[in-house]
């Protein structure tokens, strides 16, 4: 039996609209997703403004305030948390069974998982644009076209952190273990990256931390977003992020493979 292209699109539309509807119904989740980066921006960055001016580095054309520097990192943070949130919901869905509803659909499993990632990515992109709008009114303005340039960067980053979350969800069997994921994945990924300080500055502080940050894919996601926001293409960063995304995606799909995946290890009566 062949499954036509139109049917694939219907399936994708269904998965995406469910995710958006759920998101609309969970207003507290939306507020939480925005409060986190805004606190960083208003409290942390404003406080360090004097202490941490950032010297002229690409892609910035002038000396910039720390608040300006931190914006792409906070955009990455929104997406990172969102990716983990959707993987959390996948563990929850699996315990609650709605992941099963998805997986008994006749569409190939890899396609269903990609639809799921796309849905989560779109939710995170909505959050990012609301955040950037608030930042704009606060006075942190990038070139207008930069807001268009970052869109593809946000899609790729959304898929990368989403695929990471999906992969983790195959390892995390119970919801209770999720706090561990926060501590051991989100925090190191965020802090050991160029989100808060440029790499050269980290290097002055600690060569080891610099080396870790230089190997952290999240650093490249942040740099890709940073350059895109100033209408530039950081090709190295794009390639690293795309490659990481593909590897994580392949592993996540493998993890959900019925023949060898984690689903098989959850026995039942």
């Amino acid at each position: 039996m062949s499954v036509g292209m139109g049917r694939y699109l219907h399936c994708m539309r269904g998965v995406v609209s469910r995710e958006l509807l759920r998101f609309v119904h969970q207003r507290s989740r939306f507020v939480a997703a925005l409060v986190r980066p805004l606190i960083w921006l208003f409290v942390f960055a404003a406080g360090f403004r004097m202490a941490l001016g950032v010297a002229m580095t690409d892609p910035y054309k002038t000396y910039i305030l720390y608040e300006v520097y931190i914006i792409p990192g906070l955009v990455g943070m929104i997406q990172l948390f969102n990716g983990m949130q959707s993987s959390l919901s996948m563990v929850y869905d699996r315990e609650m069974g709605s992941m099963r509803v998805l997986l008994v659909s006749p569409f190939p499993r890899w396609y269903l998982l990609v639809c799921k990632l796309l849905a989560g990515t779109l939710v995170s992109i909505a959050q990012v644009y609301v955040f950037l709008t608030i930042a704009w009114f606060y006075g942190i303005k990038a070139p207008p076209m930069g807001y268009v340039w970052i869109l593809p960067a946000l899609v790729v980053t959304g898929f990368m952190v989403g695929a990471l979350g999906m992969l983790l969800s195959t390892f995390v069997k119970q919801l209770e273990n999720f706090a561990g994921v926060m501590n051991f994945v989100i925090f190191p990924m965020f802090f050991l990256s160029s989100a808060l300080y440029p790499l050269w500055r980290i290097r002055e502080g600690s060569y080891l931390v610099y080396q870790i940050a230089a190997m952290n894919p999240f650093t490249y996601a942040v740099e890709m977003i940073r350059f895109a926001l100033y209408e530039q293409l950081n090709l190295d960063a794009v390639m690293i992020v795309v490659a990481t995304t593909l590897v994580l995606l392949a592993l996540a799909i493998l993890g959900y493979n019925p023949a060898r995946g984690m689903m098989a290890r959850k026995g039942g009566g």
Binding site: V3, C11, G97, S98, R100, P106
Partner: protein
């Protein structure tokens, strides 16, 4: 069109199915078949392997020996065709509580590749069939346990499957809701001509005209019509037969 199937293929055919979990056998040489319009009760005590069997038939996991055919389509080789022909009601509730009945159903329709208009039409049709026609816009959270189950049954039938699988669907329902559900699905089975596999450990959910597969310790202890089961076990009621068949090492296969 029917590359893997035959026209006279049973709705479900399980043959020589074995599955083990960390070295321990959960299912051993399980085999039975379901024809269209037949209501089959998969009867077994807790831990008999019923849910495992369902997970294998729905291909949530796949590390198994033996064959499973849905409407003639081997599950591994023709996963798409096989999945398109089965509807499932899982043991745990799987509806999105914050979405309306209609949104839940159209989501499922999309997962089966249906367009929005067809999805809405079928949602209305099926919801009316389970007697919830005026609840389309209601949030699932506001429905009772029995009503939620009926929505899940409507969902399972939305894409007009040949086979409807229900894994202990009456768990957690009160007596009236349970009786209502058992009655409804029996009726649907006849009206829709769909083959139903209904897992339970509750003997009073078996109707005299049903077919029964008794599963215990991962093995099929008996299968056939109620009278065949009675004859095989020497019991006078299905309850007695069930006790004889599931305790002790008796192996009766009709």
């Amino acid at each position: 069109m029917r590359e893997g199937g035959r026209d006279d293929a049973p709705a479900l055919e399980v043959d020589g199915l074995s599955f083990s979990y960390s070295g321990k056998p959960v299912l051993e040489e399980v085999g039975f078949r379901l024809e269209a319009g037949q209501f089959t009760v998969l009867l077994g005590p807790n831990g008999a392997g019923k849910t495992t069997l369902f997970s294998l038939i729905t291909r949530l996991y796949d590390r198994r020996v033996g064959t499973i055919r849905v409407d003639g389509f081997e599950l591994r080789r023709h996963a798409v065709a096989a999945h398109a022909r089965m509807g499932v009601v899982f043991q745990q509730p799987t509806l999105d509580l914050d979405l309306s009945v209609r949104q839940n159903l159209t989501y499922h329709a999309a997962l089966h590749g249906m367009g929005p208009r067809e999805a809405r039409r079928r949602a209305e049709e099926q919801v009316a069939r389970v007697g919830l026609g005026d609840a389309l816009k209601t949030r699932v959270r506001q429905l009772s346990g029995g009503q939620r189950r009926r929505v899940e049954i409507a969902r399972g039938l939305l894409h007009r499957p040949r086979l409807l699988l229900l894994d202990e669907p009456t768990v957690g329902l009160d007596i009236a809701a349970r009786r209502d559900l058992v009655e409804r699905v029996h009726r649907l089975c006849v009206e829709e001509g769909v083959a139903v596999l209904w897992a339970t450990h509750l003997i009073d959910e078996v109707y005299p005209e049903d077919r029964v597969v008794v599963l215990d310790g991962g093995k099929v202890r008996a299968s056939g019509s109620v009278s065949e089961i009675l004859a095989a076990s020497g019991g006078t009621s299905i309850g007695e037969a069930f006790d004889t068949l599931t305790t002790g090492p008796v192996e009766v296969v009709s």
